[in-house]
């Protein structure tokens, strides 16, 4: 499913990278630990996290992730926005908590990364 469709279906607010919503989301991954994301999220995954600092951009682009969704109404830091814009990386925000968002993604047909 295209990222743009997910954004629309789950009413996510796009904060950065709105030009790159045409990407195909291949899976979802939820974690707040950088190395864990690097180890387990595959290219094309949508990453759900609470972390809002600028290093999430490096982790996402290093792993060629489709985008990042910040949960619980968290907003990206200013530096995070600047870096994400420079990389063209989509960052979305939602009021939903992590578990809730993951569940809704699942019901849209986005599954996790197989262990």
């Amino acid at each position: 499913m295209k990222l743009a469709r997910i954004v629309e279906k789950l009413s996510l607010a796009v904060r950065t990278g709105s030009e790159n919503l045409d990407t195909e989301v291949t899976a979802g991954y939820s974690s707040d630990l950088m190395s864990d994301v690097i180890a387990h999220a595959r290219a094309g995954s949508l990453w759900i996290t609470l972390q809002i600092h600028q290093n999430i951009v490096a982790v996402a682009s290093m792993n060629e992730l489709a985008g990042i969704v910040l949960v619980n109404g968290r907003e990206p830091e200013e530096e995070t926005i600047a870096k994400a814009e420079a990389e063209g990386l989509p960052i979305m925000v939602t009021q939903l908590p992590n578990f809730e968002l993951a569940g809704r993604l699942y019901s849209l047909g986005i599954s996790g990364v197989p262990a």
Binding site: E19, L33, M34, S35, A39, A43, N55, S61, M62, E79
Partner: protein, 324 residues
């Protein structure tokens, strides 16, 4: 993403290219004294729907299928072209940028414009929307082929360099304790390897390993250096710092074991997985460290003879099983 890029590429070309590069030079023309009844044959034979009217080399008018139909309707059998043609002709100069032609087509809705030489005023060609499209496609193809050639050259750099041993060395200085710059070095290294045309799996493994190593320098040390050596068949990295050193390397390699302070963990780092991630990406890894003296991490990633990922790569295996 691709659409956005190719759109700007076409825009760029439309400004860069001139009318004369896409126009048809071999123009079918008629003379003012040509009888209207001959037009049918001229249009049919040349598969055109309009043509400039010239006297000598100079443009005096334009006659189109529409004028022809009007003539048929008026039943003035013996008229000459000069009595039916449009005299006040909109033209383009051969040296105008293509974007002028595009906007003129948009504004006026005509099917073609005669092209004249700015200095001499002579007719030198005709331009249609089809000419513009064909011209742009030709240019895009030429540029595409040039890009392919360049990419080929980049990826075969080791074949083209004549030496007994070839090695490219890239050095990056990592600032310790600096989370703003963290990850910069590995993303620069990644860009460099991409530019060299290394295969994406290898590039990704090097990038991940160097990112984790860089983060270790940022979190635990006052800074250090990453040296990446690219040579035929392998990429090796030396990551050196003069920081606190690792007391128990075996323990440090256990997944989840970490000595990172709480504030670092709050950022999502120091989860005790960094070295494991490096190990997963590397074909060979060695840590030389003693407390107080700093750490030297050696990593090798094999690229194989044909630029493919090394055989021992677990990363490569797991990413290929992902595709199933």
């Amino acid at each position: 993403m691709f659409q956005a890029r190719s759109f700007t590429k076409v825009q760029e070309l439309v400004y860069e290219m001139k009318v004369k590069q896409v126009m048809t030079e071999d123009v079918i023309t008629v003379r003012p004294e040509t009888p209207m009844r001959q037009l049918r044959e001229i249009f049919l034979r040349n598969r055109i729907s309009g043509t400039p009217v010239v006297e000598g080399d100079f443009l005096v008018g334009i006659i189109s299928l529409e004028d022809f139909i009007k003539w048929l309707y008026d039943r003035e059998e013996n008229s000459l072209i000069e009595s039916k043609m449009t005299r006040d002709v909109e033209c383009l100069f051969a040296d105008e940028p293509l974007v002028h032609a595009v906007s003129k087509f948009e504004k006026m809705g005509y099917g073609r414009f005669p092209v004249t030489d700015r200095q001499t005023g002579k007719l030198v060609g005709v331009i249609t929307k089809g000419d513009i499209i064909a011209g742009l496609l030709r240019k895009l193809e030429v540029e595409y082929i040039e890009e392919e050639i360049q990419r080929y050259r980049a990826s075969h750099i080791f074949e083209d360099i004549v030496a007994d041993r070839t090695r490219l060395v890239f050095e990056y200085d990592v600032l310790g304790q600096n989370f703003e710059q963290a990850g910069e070095c590995s993303s620069r290294l990644k860009r460099t390897l991409k530019r060299l045309g290394l295969d994406p799996t290898t590039t990704r493994r090097v990038a991940i390993a160097s990112y984790e190593a860089e983060m270790n320098l940022v979190v635990f040390t006052r800074g250090g250096r990453i040296v990446a050596r690219v040579e035929p068949g392998r990429i090796s990295m030396d990551v050196k710092d003069s920081g606190p050193g690792i007391a128990d390397i075996e323990k440090a390699l256990q997944p989840g074991y970490s000595t990172a302070p709480q504030w670092v963990r709050d950022l999502g780092f120091g989860a005790g997985m960094g070295l494991n991630n490096i190990q997963r990406c590397a074909d060979e890894m060695e840590i030389i460290s003693s407390p107080g003296k700093g750490t030297h991490l050696k990593i090798s990633i094999l690229t194989g003879d044909d630029g493919e990922a090394g055989k021992n790569s677990r990363e490569a295996q797991s990413s290929s099983s992902d595709r199933q």
